[in-house]
C-alpha cells in the first residue's frame, strides 16, 4: 500500500474537495441512503442486467465478493437466452444459485435486491438506470453513462431524488495507473498543462452488409432494441456491434473516450469545467450498417483555466500502445497509455514524489484488481452513506457529455458552443433538439 504524505480518507476528501456542493452544484454529500443498505449480515443482494462481454466480468467480480461474504447474487438478466444460460452456468460454477430473467423489470420488482449492475448496450443505460433508481436500487452502470445529454441529466436527477449511489464503470479513477498520473499532473510533474491529446485506432467498417433477417434463436429483438426506434433485425447488429452505431455505442469516442476523458478530467481537476466549445471532423464509412466515422478529430476548448483536449482517431500516437493520452505541459509531457486501468502508469509518474505542500489525491484502495476496486468503492459509498462513489453519475454524465457533443458536432458538421450551466448549445436550435431522443414506448425514461 502506498504511503500518503498525509492521511486522507474518503470522508476527509469529500469534506475538502471541489466535489462538495457549491463548487459543482451537487447535493450535499452527507445524505444518508434511505434505500438499500447491506443487511444485518453486511451483504448486499445484487443482480446483473446484461451478461454479455463486460457483464460477465462483473459477474466474475461479484462471485468473488460473494465468496468473501460481501454480496449475494440473486439474479441475472439478459434479452438473449443464450447469454442468460451461460450466466446461470457461470454463476453455478462460481457457487451462486441465481434466478434468470429476460425482462429486467422483473429484477426491479424484487424488494430483496439492493443493487444492480447494468452492462447492456449503451442505448439502454439511461432508461434502466433511471428505472432502477426509481425502485430504490443502487446502480453500477457501464460507461458511457448515456447516449444523449438529456438522458444523462435524467440519470443524475433520478439518483439524487431517490438517494441511491450510482457508479459509472469508468474504473480508471480507482486504478493505480490513473492515480499515479493524476497526482503527478496535479502536482506539476510537467508544469502547467495547456493541452491533452488522445490517440486511438479507427472505428471498424461494416464491409459485409447484409439484408435484414429474423433475429437468432433466443434473442428477444424487441427487448434488445428497447428505447431505440423500431427496425427489423439485421445480423450486423450482433454480437456487440452496437458499439459502431451512432445511436447506441457511438464509436470509439464514446467507448474508450468515456474512459480516457474521465481520467483526463480527473488528472486536470476539471470536473467542474462544464462549458466548452467542440469542433469535430470525421471520415464517414461509405457503406454498411455501422455509421460511426472511421477517422475522427475533435477539439474541445475549455476556459478558466484555458486548456485544450484533443481526441484523435488515429491522432498523433506518442506512446507504445493502441490508444492513450499525452499531457503537454510547460516543462515537458507525460504519457498515459490506455486509460490508467489496464496498463501501468508511466514510470516517471510512479516514481514522482509530492513536493512540499503538494496535493494528495484520494482513491479507494481495497483491491489490486481495479475492476474489483471500483466496485468496492461503490459499496463503500453506500455503507458510508454519502452515496458519492469515485465516478458518481454526475461525473459520468459530464464525461459522457464530452463524448456525445463530440459526435453531435461531427453529425452536424459544425462547431458547437456548450453552456454547461444551462446545459444547452448556444444559438443552435437543431443541436439543442438533438440533445434528446424520445424513447420507444414503453421503454421510456
Amino acid at each position: 500500500m502506498t504511503r500518503f504524505t498525509s492521511p486522507i480518507t474518503r470522508r476527509t476528501f469529500l469534506k475538502h474537495s471541489a466535489l462538495v456542493a457549491g463548487a459543482l452544484n451537487l447535493a450535499p454529500a452527507c445524505v444518508l441512503s434511505q434505500n438499500a443498505q447491506p443487511g444485518a449480515n453486511g451483504r448486499f443482494v445484487v443482480a446483473h442486467i446484461g451478461v454479455g462481454g463486460m457483464g460477465m466480468t462483473h459477474l466474475t467480480n461479484m462471485l468473488r465478493f460473494q465468496k468473501e461474504g460481501k454480496v449475494r447474487i440473486a439474479a441475472v438478466c439478459d434479452a438473449d437466452d443464450n447469454r442468460l444460460q451461460a450466466a446461470v452456468e457461470n454463476a453455478k460454477t462460481g457457487g451462486a444459485s441465481v434466478i434468470p430473467y429476460r425482462d429486467y423489470r422483473y429484477v426491479l420488482e424484487r424488494k430483496d435486491i439492493d443493487a444492480v449492475l447494468i452492462a447492456t448496450p449503451d442505448h439502454w443505460h439511461a432508461v434502466q438506470t433511471v428505472h432502477a433508481c426509481e425502485t430504490g436500487k443502487h446502480v453500477y452502470v457501464e460507461k458511457p453513462a448515456s447516449v444523449t445529454v438529456r438522458d444523462g441529466q435524467a440519470m443524475v436527477s433520478a439518483a439524487r431524488a431517490h438517494k441511491v449511489a450510482v457508479q459509472v464503470g469508468a474504473q480508471a479513477r480507482t486504478a493505480k495507473g490513473a492515480w499515479y498520473t493524476c497526482r503527478a499532473i496535479r502536482n506539476g510533474i510537467v508544469g502547467k498543462v495547456k493541452r491533452v491529446s488522445c490517440w486511438h485506432y479507427a472505428n471498424p467498417v461494416d464491409d459485409k452488409p447484409v439484408l435484414d433477417s429474423p433475429p437468432p434463436e433466443g434473442l428477444d429483438w424487441d427487448l434488445w432494441l428497447g428505447p431505440l426506434p423500431w427496425r427489423p433485425h439485421n445480423q450486423r447488429y450482433q454480437p456487440a456491434n452496437f458499439r459502431w452505431l451512432m445511436e447506441s455505442g457511438g464509436g470509439q469516442i464514446r467507448d474508450r473516450g468515456a474512459h480516457q476523458f474521465s481520467t483526463i478530467l480527473w488528472c486536470m481537476n476539471a470536473d467542474h469545467q462544464t462549458s466548452f466549445t467542440i469542433e469535430s471532423k470525421g471520415r464517414a464509412p461509405t457503406k454498411g450498417l455501422w455509421d460511426c466515422p472511421i477517422d475522427m478529430q475533435v477539439v474541445y476548448q475549455f476556459k478558466n483555466p484555458d486548456w485544450t483536449l484533443e481526441w484523435g482517431q488515429p491522432g498523433g500516437k506518442v506512446g507504445q500502445t493502441e490508444f492513450g493520452n499525452v499531457f503537454w505541459g510547460d516543462n515537458g509531457h507525460l504519457i498515459l497509455e490506455w486509460e490508467g486501468g489496464y496498463r501501468p502508469a508511466n514510470p516517471e509518474a510512479v516514481n514522482f514524489k509530492l513536493p512540499p505542500g503538494g496535493q494528495e489525491v484520494y482513491r479507494t484502495d481495497e483491491y489490486e484488481d481495479f475492476n474489483m476496486n471500483h466496485k468496492a468503492d461503490w459499496f463503500k459509498s453506500i455503507r458510508e452513506g454519502h452515496l458519492r462513489p469515485a465516478v458518481d453519475i454526475e461525473i459520468g454524465h459530464r464525461t459522457a457529455t464530452l463524448c456525445n457533443l463530440g459526435n453531435l458536432s461531427y453529425l452536424l458538421g459544425r462547431k458547437l458552443v456548450w453552456d454547461g450551466t444551462k446545459q444547452k448549445v448556444v444559438g443552435d436550435d437543431e443541436a439543442n433538439r438533438l440533445l434528446s431522443r424520445p424513447q420507444r414506448y414503453p421503454y421510456v425514461l
Binding site: V88, P209, P229, K287, E430, P442
Partner: protein, 189 residues
C-alpha cells in the same frame, strides 16, 4: 431511375448509384449543400430495392437536413422543410419513418400538422409520436392532446407519456414503463 430537372442533382443521384464505392461514397457524403432540390430525389432513392443504395439515400438526405439546420441557413431550412413535408404525404412507409424524424430536427410549426397526420397510421404512429415529443412548437403538444382523445386505447398510454414529457399534467393512463412482460425459458441455476 431517379430523374431531376436540375442537372447537378441528377448528376449527384447518378454518382450515388455508381457501382464504384469510391465514387458513390464521395457523392452521398457531399450531398449536404445541394439543399431542397435534392430532397425528393434522395427520398425516392431511400425506397430503392437495393438496401445499400437506400441506405446511402437516407444518409445523404440527413446531410441535407443537417446542412439546412445551420443557425444561419433560415431560407435553406424552410425550403428543405417544404420538400420534406411533401415527401411525408406520399412516400413508402420506410421513407416517411425517417422523414418524420428529420422534421423533428428542423421542422417549424408548419411541419406539426403533417407529422401529426401520421399518428393514425399504425406502422408510423410511434415514430410520429416520438418526433412530435421532440418538436418544440406548442402545436406539437396540441396535436398530441388531440390524438389522445381519438387514438385507439392501446396507443393512449404512449401519447400520455409524450404529454407528460412536455409538462402536461394528466389523469389516468398510468405509465407502463415498469410493467414486465417478457419471460425466459432458461431455468434457474
Amino acid at each position: 431511375m431517379y430523374f431531376s430537372n436540375d442537372p447537378s442533382i441528377q448528376g449527384l443521384i447518378e454518382r450515388i448509384q455508381n457501382p464504384d464505392e469510391a465514387v458513390s461514397g464521395a457523392a452521398w457524403q457531399s450531398a449536404g449543400p445541394y439543399g431542397a432540390a435534392a430532397v425528393q430525389p434522395l427520398a425516392a432513392l431511400m425506397a430503392d430495392a437495393d438496401f445499400e443504395l437506400a441506405r446511402k439515400g437516407k444518409r445523404a438526405l440527413y446531410l441535407v437536413v443537417r446542412h439546412a439546420g445551420h443557425p444561419a441557413a433560415t431560407k435553406e431550412r424552410r425550403a428543405v422543410e417544404r420538400e420534406l413535408i411533401a415527401v411525408l404525404g406520399s412516400s413508402p412507409t420506410q421513407v416517411r419513418r425517417e422523414v418524420v424524424w428529420m422534421l423533428s430536427e428542423i421542422g417549424s410549426a408548419r411541419a406539426v400538422g403533417p407529422m401529426a397526420a401520421l399518428l393514425t397510421d399504425q406502422a408510423l404512429r410511434e415514430d410520429a409520436r416520438c418526433a412530435l415529443t421532440r418538436h418544440p412548437a406548442p402545436g406539437a403538444v396540441k396535436a398530441l392532446k388531440s390524438a389522445l382523445t381519438t387514438a385507439p386505447e392501446d396507443f393512449k398510454p404512449a401519447l400520455a407519456e409524450s404529454l407528460r414529457v412536455r409538462g402536461v399534467e394528466l389523469e389516468g393512463y398510468p405509465s407502463r414503463k415498469l410493467v414486465p412482460t417478457a419471460q425466459t425459458t432458461v431455468a434457474p441455476g
